[in-house]
Amino acid sequence: MVSNVSMAVNLGGIHMKNPVNTASGTFGHAWQFEGFYDVARLGAVTCKGVAAESWPGNPAPRVCEVSSGILNSVGLENPGARAFAEQYGDYLGELSSRGCAVIVQAVGHSVDECRRSVELLDEVAPWAAGIEVNISCPNLARGGRLLGGTPEDAEEVVSAVRPLTKKPLLVKLAPARVGEIARACEAAGADALSLVNTVNAMSINVHTRRSRLSRPTGGLSGPAIHPIAVRMVWEAAQAVSIPINGIGGVATGEDAAEMILAGATTVSVGTANLYDPAAASRVLDELEAWAVEQGVSDINELIGAFEC
């Protein structure tokens, strides 16, 4: 689509030619989508989280369907940062040179592990436009407590990793206490925030009395959580001045537009990629059409333009 609306945005130092990004863990390592559309049209892609060393993840089944969404318990299976760069670095570097910002994601089971994965990613992924640190995975069993579940914990992680890279640093939040935690991350030096991660939830097979996943709980994602995510983006946008990458149930241009009106600078398409592999590309077209309809000359005019 060719329009006169400027779609370029700046996500805390990551320059994107348009606001459409993908959500970590739902877009493989991007190359899988080249059969559906030219991935380089997207403003950015965010890769699956990687740790310093490989993680096995949870046993099968790892996914089940619920009303307007899915539950997953992948458990952050990943090959470790070096193997990741080894297998996907050439492709991702090329994607980056094709004009699509590549964001890599760091995970860890402790502050120290986070530190090591950020450090390693900074080293092995020179083509990355930014590093996102995931302080929110609900599948991470860590004494029952999330890495960044309280403002204090979040501040600790972000302060620890901040000095380790010169790249823009994103922090990915869980869907709880987002206002307070957003402020803590901003104070600790985050350049941007991604929210939200999946909502901890449960689905029981009532015939067997067991979980429909291999774990008692999993993370809810998809259209079901969209209204919750929009509210949290709005809450966070009012709490901080760093830009926000809005995530949660985005499947259409209107869903993306809601995020932007609520205060997001960029929007990540997640679960929709799985069932509608052309979703992110379509969301981009629909978002641009909306900006045209709104009569603005720059999409930035619509960020936070919700009227209440």
Binding site: G25, T26, F27, G28, H29, W31, Q32, F33, E34, G35, F36, K48, P56, G57, P59, A60, P61, R62, V63, C64, E65, S67, S68, G69, I70, N72, V74, E77, E86, Q87, Y88, D90, Y91, E94, L95, G222, P223, T271, N273, L274, Y275, P277, A278
Partner: protein
């Protein structure tokens, strides 16, 4: 292997239903027209979007029994086990939807020139039929064991097609067995398999069916020192490598993707 821009094989296609009929107790057969037909190899699968309930977002992964590149048609058989497959059974000739494919990594033509043994259980029959036709086309001989809980659940037309694929080889045996003896011989596929193994020698075993059955088949094959390929099922989020939801635990402690590395695996490497 390093990923490249050209590594992606799965595309999005439209399909249009040609026919969709019940062929056995709980089992339906659909033929649809789609450009994916020209791209599918035996043992691969497609991810079908079933219309009718936008609250159920995921696609349904389905193997096929035959993909006709010239006619542009694909034949799938499926058991109605839940709401997605129930809605699939309601599609009428002319109805259209979309699918993602080709997905996965199919049967490998077994090395050697000897006889191959196929073992299919229940709705595992379609990909095994595709394997039979692949073997026949390659001039390979095979025997087959086909099992079901009871005769009424067996997709008879597939068994006929299997026999047809085997017909070039007069020595070929196709054994039908049912748990309750209502059709063919009574007993499990693994019983029939054990007897065949005692009588004949095979270069390879190819199997698809319930997990417990495949585990048994894999054990027998291993005991006999025969290479075995098994087509696995997992709950899938995407079918093309985007979500890591479909992991298969391997004996060596590693984990593989059912939709990318599979669904066909070397049975001996799988942690059953």
């Amino acid at each position: 292997m390093k990923a490249t821009r050209d590594s992606a094989r799965a595309h999005l296609f439209d399909f249009a239903v040609v026919s969709n009929e019940q062929v056995a107790e709980g089992a339906w057969c659909m033929v649809f027209k789609s450009e994916v037909a020209a791209l599918l190899a035996p043992g691969e699968f497609v991810e079908v979007s079933v219309p009718g309930d936008p609250s159920q977002v995921l696609r349904v992964p389905l193997s096929f029994s035959r993909a006709d590149a010239e006619a542009g048609t694909v034949r799938i058989e499926y058991a109605v086990v839940g709401d997605g497959t129930r809605r699939l059974s309601l599609m009428r000739p002319g109805d259209t939807s979309t699918l993602v494919g080709p997905c996965g990594h199919g049967w490998r033509l077994p090395g050697g020139e000897g006889r191959v043994l196929l073992v299919a259980g229940g709705i595992g029959l379609p990909p095994v039929l595709a394997a039979a036709e692949m073997l026949a086309a390659a001039g390979r001989t095979f025997d087959a064991v086909v099992g079901a809980q009871r005769g009424s659940k067996l997709v008879g037309v597939d068994v006929d097609l299997l026999r047809e694929a085997a017909s070039a080889d007069p020595a070929s045996r196709v054994v039908v067995c049912t748990d309750d003896g209502s059709l063919g011989r009574a007993g499990f596929t693994t019983d029939a398999m054990a007897e065949l193994l005692a009588e004949r020698s095979y270069d390879a075993v190819l199997t698809c069916g319930p997990t417990v059955m495949m585990a048994g088949v894999a054990r027998l094959a291993e005991g006999a020192g025969i290479a075995c390929q098994a087509s696995l099922e997992r709950m899938m989020g995407c079918g093309f490598g985007a979500c890591s939801c479909c992991n298969v635990a391997m004996r060596d402690g590693t984990s593989r993707s059912c939709c990318m590395d599979g669904p066909v695996f070397n049975a001996g490497e799988v942690a059953w």
